[in-house]
C-alpha cells in the first residue's frame, strides 16, 4: 500500500512539474502570431522568413557564413550598399579616390547608432582593425587583406598603426590599399567592412553575443530578440538616417533547418517567404511549384564544376580532360536532374558577371569533338584503347542531389566515350579534406562569389598551392594576366585581361563547368521591393507589403 502511494505521489510530482512548465510557456508569446492582409489600407508590415540555422556570429568582423550575412545585411550598413547590382553610397556621403586608385577618402553622412551615438569614422577604423587583429580570431580577416598592411598585421608582421585605415576626423575616413583594387567599392558593402560602435565595444567586449541594449547597429533594422537556435526578431530602426524609406516594421527570422517543413510553413501561412536566399526549398517540390506558377527563379553568381586532379593520370593530359568535359550533356542535367532552371555552364565566370558567358567557350554535349579529343589523348598517353585507361573515380560529398548528377555524368561518359567511372562519396568534412590534399581524381565542387567581380572565380586557379585550387594546375600566362589585371585602371581593358585569362582556363580545362547556380523561392504575392543581388544576398530595407 505504502509503495503504491509513493509511486502515485511521484507520478503526480512529475505531472505537476510538467504543468507548471506549460503555464510559464503560454504567457510568453501570443501577440504577433496572426498576420494576414485583411484590409488594403493597413496591411501589416511584418515579414516572416526562415534562415535555416543559428548564425555563426552577429559580429560583422567575425561572421563568415551566409546566415550571419543575411542578418547583418539588415541590421548594419557599410560605406556602400549594393542596389540594382551596383555599389551605391550608404554610410558614406561622398568619396575621393587618388589617381593611382590606392587611396580612398570617404566622407561619412550624419548617421546614428541604434542607441543614438553618432556613427563616426573612428567606428570604421576600429572595426576593421579589430577584425584584422590576430588575437580576435576572425576567420574572414582575409576579406580585409586589400587594405595596406592588412595581411601583415593579421599575420603579426606589422603593427595596428601601419594598417591603411585612418579616421582623419569624426566624419572622414582615409583608406590606403595594398594594390589598386578596381572593385573596392563592392567590397565596402560586404559585412566584414561594416563599422562597429567603438564606444560600446571597448566597454563591453561581449556586446555581440546577445540582443540587448549593447547590441547596437547602424542599419535599417535593429535586433530586438535573439533566442539562440530558435529565432531572431528585427524591428525598424527609428534612428536610421533613411528611416522614412523603410516600410517593414518587423522581421521575424525562424531557424528551421528542414526544406519540407519550410515549404509547409509557407503553405500554411506561417512564413511569407520560403526558399533562397534565406532558406531552402525541397528539390522534389520544384516542378510542382513551377507548374502552379508560384516558383521564382533568379540566376546567381555561382558555378558547379568538376575539378580534375591534373597531376594524376589520365587527367594530366589536356585532351582527356577536354574529351570528358565536352561529353557532358549539361542541358539534360539541368532539365532532368537539378530542375531549378540552372544555366548550362561552358565557362567559369557566371553570366551575372560576364553576360556573354551564357554561350560559353565550347558547345554543350559535343560528342563528336569529345571523341576526337579522346583519340588524341589516348595516342599521347601511348594507349590503344579506352579500356587501357587507368581506373577513374568520381568523388562527391554525400548528398542526394550530388549523387544524381554524378550518376548522370557517369552514364554520359560511358555512353559517349566508353569510359567506365566508379563513383565514390564521403561525408562533407572528409570529402573536403581529400580534395584539398589532392587525394582524388575527379571531384565536384561549387563556388559562389563573395563580391561581384570575375576575379572571385578566376583567382582560385592562379597559384597551384592557392588554398582552393585543388586541381594542381598552374599556367604562367594565366597567372600574369591576373596579376596585371589588378593594376589596370581602365575597366574595359581590365575586363579583356580577365576574359583572356578565362579563355586559357577554358582551353586547358582543369575544371569542367557543369551549370551556373540559380536561386529558387516562393513568396507572398503582395510582398514587393525585396532587393536580391546577383550574389544571392538579400536586403529587406526597401521591402513592403502592398
Amino acid at each position: 500500500m505504502k509503495k503504491r502511494l509513493s509511486l502515485l505521489f511521484s507520478l503526480m510530482l512529475v505531472l505537476s512539474v510538467f504543468l507548471a512548465a506549460c503555464g510559464g510557456f503560454n504567457k510568453k508569446e501570443s501577440a504577433g502570431e496572426k498576420t494576414g492582409g485583411e484590409k488594403k489600407a493597413d496591411v501589416s508590415q511584418e515579414l516572416r522568413v526562415n534562415i535555416n540555422t543559428e548564425p555563426f556570429s552577429l559580429h560583422p568582423g567575425l561572421a563568415n557564413d551566409s546566415t550571419s550575412g543575411t542578418v547583418l545585411r539588415q541590421t548594419f550598413e557599410g560605406l556602400t550598399v549594393i542596389k540594382d547590382g551596383k555599389p551605391k553610397l550608404a554610410a558614406a556621403e561622398s568619396y575621393d579616390v587618388s589617381d593611382d586608385l590606392t587611396t580612398y577618402t570617404f566622407k561619412l553622412r550624419d548617421a546614428k547608432w541604434t542607441n543614438g551615438d553618432p556613427v563616426t569614422a573612428q567606428d570604421f577604423e576600429y572595426a576593421w582593425k579589430w577584425a584584422l587583429d590576430p588575437k580576435n580570431q576572425s576567420q574572414y580577416a582575409y576579406q580585409l587583406y586589400y587594405i595596406k598592411n592588412g595581411q601583415a598585421f593579421n599575420e603579426g608582421k606589422a603593427k595596428a598603426e601601419d594598417v591603411g585605415v585612418k579616421a582623419l576626423d569624426d566624419k572622414t575616413l582615409q583608406v590606403t590599399l595594398e594594390n589598386p583594387t578596381p572593385y573596392f567599392l563592392e567590397l565596402t558593402a560586404f559585412y566584414t567592412y561594416y563599422p562597429v560602435n567603438s564606444k560600446i565595444a571597448q566597454k563591453n567586449p561581449d556586446w555581440y553575443k546577445n540582443a540587448g541594449p549593447d547590441y547596437t547597429s547602424n542599419g535599417p533594422f535593429k535586433m530586438t530578440t535573439w533566442e539562440h537556435n530558435n529565432k531572431i526578431v528585427l524591428e525598424k530602426n527609428e534612428n536610421y538616417w533613411d528611416a522614412k524609406n523603410v516600410k517593414l516594421t518587423k522581421i521575424s527570422m525562424s531557424m528551421v533547418n528542414d526544406p519540407n517543413t519550410e515549404l509547409s510553413m509557407f503553405n500554411n501561412g506561417e512564413l511569407d517567404w520560403a526558399g533562397s536566399p534565406t532558406g531552402t526549398l525541397p528539390t522534389d517540390a520544384l516542378p510542382q511549384l513551377k507548374q502552379e506558377g508560384k516558383l521564382h527563379v533568379q540566376p546567381i553568381a555561382g558555378t558547379y564544376w568538376l575539378k580534375f586532379n591534373t597531376e594524376k593520370a589520365p587527367f594530366n593530359n589536356v585532351n582527356i580532360r577536354k574529351a570528358l568535359a565536352y561529353a557532358i550533356d549539361r542541358k539534360a542535367i539541368v532539365e532532368n536532374v537539378t530542375k531549378g532552371e540552372q544555366v548550362p555552364a561552358m565557362a567559369a565566370v557566371p553570366p551575372t558577371m560576364f553576360p556573354e558567358n551564357k554561350e560559353g567557350y565550347f558547345k554543350d554535349n559535343d560528342v563528336e569533338k569529345a571523341k576526337e579529343y579522346l583519340k588524341k589523348g589516348l595516342e599521347e598517353l601511348g594507349l590503344k584503347d579506352v579500356k587501357q585507361l587507368p581506373p577513374i573515380t568520381y568523388s562527391f560529398n554525400t548528398s542526394e542531389a550530388h549523387a544524381k548528377i554524378a550518376q548522370a555524368i557517369q552514364d554520359m561518359w560511358k555512353k559517349n566515350l566508353g569510359i567506365e567511372v566508379k563513383l565514390e562519396n564521403a561525408e562533407w568534412n572528409v570529402y573536403i579534406d581529400k580534395l584539398h590534399s589532392g587525394d582524388y581524381q575527379v571531384g565536384r565542387m561549387g563556388w559562389l562569389g563573395d563580391f561581384n567581380d570575375p576575379i572571385n572565380f578566376l583567382e582560385l586557379f592562379r597559384d597551384k598551392k592557392g588554398g582552393n585550387n585543388d586541381t594542381n594546375w598552374e599556367n604562367p600566362k594565366y597567372k600574369q594576366l591576373l596579376i596585371d589585371s589588378q593594376k589596370e585602371k581602365d575597366p574595359e581593358k581590365r575586363k579583356q585581361m580577365l576574359k583572356d585569362a578565362e579563355a586559357i582556363l577554358m582551353d586547358e580545362l582543369p575544371v569542367a563547368p557543369i551549370y551556373f547556380y540559380t536561386q529558387t523561392w516562393v513568396q507572398k504575392d503582395n510582398l514587393k521591393g525585396v532587393e536580391l543581388s546577383g550574389l544571392g544576398d538579400v536586403q529587406f530595407k526597401w521591402a513592403y507589403f502592398e
Binding site: F25, S57, Q137, S254, V256, S264, D433
Partner: protein
C-alpha cells in the same frame, strides 16, 4: 542498498571515463577539422585559430586538459557558434528537449498502457485487434514519416496546430505526438502481453474466487505486476526521448539538444561533441541506475543488495 549504490556510482564513473577517452580519440581520428570549409582559410589564419583553441598542442596535453575541465563541468567554447560555450548550448537546448521528451513520455506511457490493458482485457476481440493494428503501425512507421503526416493532416489540412517551430504549448503538440508514436505502440504491446500472462496466474484466479470485481482485480493485482517490463523499457526510453531526437527536432525546427548533437559531429565542433556526449552518457547511466532502484520499489522480490543470500 547504500553499498549497492556506491558500487554502481563507481562503475558509472569508470564507464564515463572510457566513453570520454573513446570519443576523444575517435573524434580526432576523423578527417577534417572545425575550420575546414568550402573556402579554405589562409594558412596563417588557420594556424592562429589552431593555436587559440589549443589544437596545435600534442594530443596528450589536450586530452589531460580536457579531462580536467570536464571534471570542473566546463566544456569550453563552441567552434561553430562564436561567443557561445558548450555549457550554454546544453543549458539552452536540454530544457527544450527535456520538456518535449516529458510530454512525449507522458503520452506514450499513459496511452500505451491504456491501449495495452484494453487489448488484454478484450483478448481476441475487436478492441484487441484494433489496438494491435494501431501498435504495429506505430512501431513500423518511422518517426519522420509520422511527423510529415501529422504536419500535413493536423496542421495544413485541419489547421489545428502550427506546422513547426517552438513558441507556445500548441507548437509542442505535433512533435510530442510524433515522438511518442513508436514508444507508445511498443508499450501497448508490452503491456498487453505481460497482462495476458499475469491474468492467467493463480493469484488472479484466487482473487476472482474471492469475489473481487473485475475492475479491482485489474487495477490492484494485474496491472501492477504487468508493468514490470514496461518499467524496464522506461529507463532507456526516457534517456532516449528526453535527450531529444535529431529527426523530430529538425523537422519541427525545435531548438533542442538532439539536433545540436548530430550537427556538431558533421561540423567537427570538437568541444560540443565531447560536451554533449559526456552529458548524455551521464543521463543514460543514471537513468539505468534509477530503473534498477525502481525495480526494488515495484517488485519487492528483487533484492538490490544482491549476492548476500548466496554468500
Amino acid at each position: 542498498m547504500l553499498r549497492y549504490i556506491s558500487r554502481r556510482l563507481l562503475s558509472i564513473l569508470l564507464s564515463l571515463f572510457l566513453i570520454i577517452t573513446a570519443t576523444f580519440f575517435l573524434m580526432r581520428a576523423a578527417p577534417g577539422g572545425p575550420f575546414s570549409g568550402e573556402k579554405k582559410l589562409p594558412p596563417e589564419i588557420e594556424k592562429n585559430l589552431n593555436e587559440y583553441y589549443g589544437l596545435d598542442r600534442p594530443w596528450y596535453e589536450q586530452y589531460t586538459d580536457y579531462l580536467v575541465s570536464i571534471a570542473k563541468w566546463d566544456f569550453g567554447p563552441s567552434f561553430k557558434y562564436k561567443g557561445q560555450t558548450v555549457n550554454d548550448l546544453i543549458n539552452e537546448g536540454f530544457p527544450v528537449s527535456f520538456f518535449l521528451g516529458m510530454e512525449a513520455l507522458l503520452l506514450a506511457v499513459s496511452l500505451g498502457i491504456l491501449l495495452g490493458v484494453i487489448a488484454a482485457l478484450n483478448h481476441n476481440k475487436w478492441q484487441d485487434y484494433g489496438a494491435m493494428i494501431f501498435a504495429v503501425l506505430g512501431i513500423s512507421v518511422p518517426s519522420f514519416i509520422m511527423a510529415s503526416l501529422l504536419q500535413y493532416v493536423l496542421a495544413i489540412k485541419l489547421g489545428l496546430f502550427p506546422v513547426a517551430r517552438w513558441e507556445s504549448l500548441q507548437h509542442t503538440v505535433l512533435p510530442a505526438l510524433a515522438l511518442a508514436a513508436t514508444p507508445m505502440a511498443f508499450i501497448a504491446r508490452l503491456t498487453r502481453s505481460s497482462m495476458l500472462e499475469v491474468l492467467s496466474n493463480d493469484y488472479i484466479r484466487t482473487a476472482k474466487a474471492k469475489g473481487l470485481s473485475k475492475g479491482q482485480i485489474t487495477v490492484k493485482h494485474a496491472i501492477r505486476n504487468a508493468l514490470l517490463p514496461v518499467v524496464t523499457y522506461l529507463g532507456p526510453l526516457s534517456a532516449a526521448v528526453l535527450t531529444g531526437s535529431f529527426v523530430i527536432e529538425k523537422i519541427f525546427g525545435i531548438p533542442g539538444l538532439g539536433s545540436q548533437f548530430v550537427l556538431s559531429i558533421s561540423n567537427r565542433d570538437y568541444t560540443t561533441i565531447m560536451g554533449v556526449t559526456v552529458f548524455y552518457s551521464i543521463l543514460l547511466l543514471f537513468s539505468v541506475l534509477l530503473v534498477d532502484i525502481a525495480y526494488g520499489l515495484i517488485d519487492p522480490r528483487i533484492k538490490l543488495a544482491g549476492g548476500k543470500k548466496g554468500e
